[in-house]
Subunit: 300 residues, 2 copies
Amino acid sequence: MIRPSLIFDLNSYIESKNIQINNELDKIIDAQNSNLISKAIRYSLMSGGKRIRPVLCIAASEAVGGEERSVLPAACALEMIHTYSLIHDDLPAIDNDSLRRGKQTCHIAFDEATAILAGDALLTLSFQVLSSIDVNRYNANTWLKVIHLISIAAGYKGMIEGQIRDISYENRHISMKKLEEMHSLKTGALIEVSVKSGAILGNGNPEQIELLQIYAKNIGLAFQITDDLLNVAGDPSVTGKGVGTDMARNKCTYPALIGISGSETYAKKLINNALKAIESFDNKSDPLRAIAMYIIERKR
Amino acid sequence: MIRPSLIFDLNSYIESKNIQINNELDKIIDAQNSNLISKAIRYSLMSGGKRIRPVLCIAASEAVGGEERSVLPAACALEMIHTYSLIHDDLPAIDNDSLRRGKQTCHIAFDEATAILAGDALLTLSFQVLSSIDVNRYNANTWLKVIHLISIAAGYKGMIEGQIRDISYENRHISMKKLEEMHSLKTGALIEVSVKSGAILGNGNPEQIELLQIYAKNIGLAFQITDDLLNVAGDPSVTGKGVGTDMARNKCTYPALIGISGSETYAKKLINNALKAIESFDNKSDPLRAIAMYIIERKR
């Protein structure tokens, strides 16, 4: 297995990026405006997510020589889209979850109507942010392309189709192929487009963009497998989530299909593929390498 | 009262535009793709709406010398945003409506989860369509600006804020000022941006765009007043909606605040303002003039 340099301090990297991302998100949701929807948006958006998608977007941009500042609007928009999808997935009509990250879900803390509209508002706001760039400083064509890619990834042939399949597979035994397709739509599409947007906005060349997409596809799937593994054998005091809930819900997971050790081996293989894809990249890609390793080593 | 030329045949105009709009929408939702969400999207989007917003967008573009073809993506996106907002507003947690345009609402015809996700998908798809233009033929800066304006109008300081206020005003007596602000957000913002986008994409000059915005603001409000009037005194076999439902729901409306004849006078005044704003425009604006007249004369 390829091991990235252990010198790189991922925690500090993520921490410093999160400060930038959170500052920017804070500015966007506009502290002065205290209407109900902006309160609900703030509640869900600022509830301590790991910001994996925006960090990946920035790291991919840096990997091809781009600057953090120039991708920040895309990074924030991706986090908003992720958060809106969580708010709507938690609704009573969908997953009916009352807790997320140890806090009440949006429809419990506010009410169902507010949660539906706050999700809608976040999704809309993400496109407002993506289209608010200064066209004198940035290339409008490139941003239009990024908007297009993100809308496809988040749409009814991407993330939303994944969610629909997830619902329809409840209480059903499905094949490995179907499970993998579902995840690559439900979570993979947005993770992939996070990396791809970063690479495009950082002015990566077509070959770099393609290799980064292979990286993203592999870490996206590995991320899901470790999620499943943590649900089986994680420490709830660390994960902040219930353990065994997938099994109780009769959900089809990797451990259920190929066992715990089979899942671990598979996740490692995927991370190896991801690292191989960006082998030729220089040390500006160390954050991406460290993120790949973190994904299988994480405890939460 | 200024009266536009009666020679202009609005019905034929709307009919021919609707054929273009429906063809384009049909292509967008992709007949080949038969997943659940695309079925729900098709069901709601193709259920015989009046297509007021896209027609206004095209008519505004033509009024400043633009071509129908070049604004069609924006026109379709606006109808998609309108339809998504109806799907979500009809949900049990919001208005809990089971009928719309004489057909079952989306969450009744499908189920609640599908309706939530179909609305999300339509909203996302609207931005996909807005960002899918050919940058070799059209100006990317202009489209980025249009995306920005539409996202603001549809967002949490526009349409969504209007919906939140509408919910919070239920069973309350509110002032005329508050009623007007609520409508100008809930329905006005999207009508205004429909006209403004058309004017921008048709390459209107700043003065034309400003005058068209005044036109839009006035017809938007007049549209809402006639909606309230039809709810009091319309013919349900023509409107396809219930009569007296606002009163039964204890909703604050124009007739409730200023009476039926006061509302009629006010709507006429607004239409007069709208026609005055575009007085200096040539006969390419006849469709806009006819639409303004139609708004107060309509029976459904």
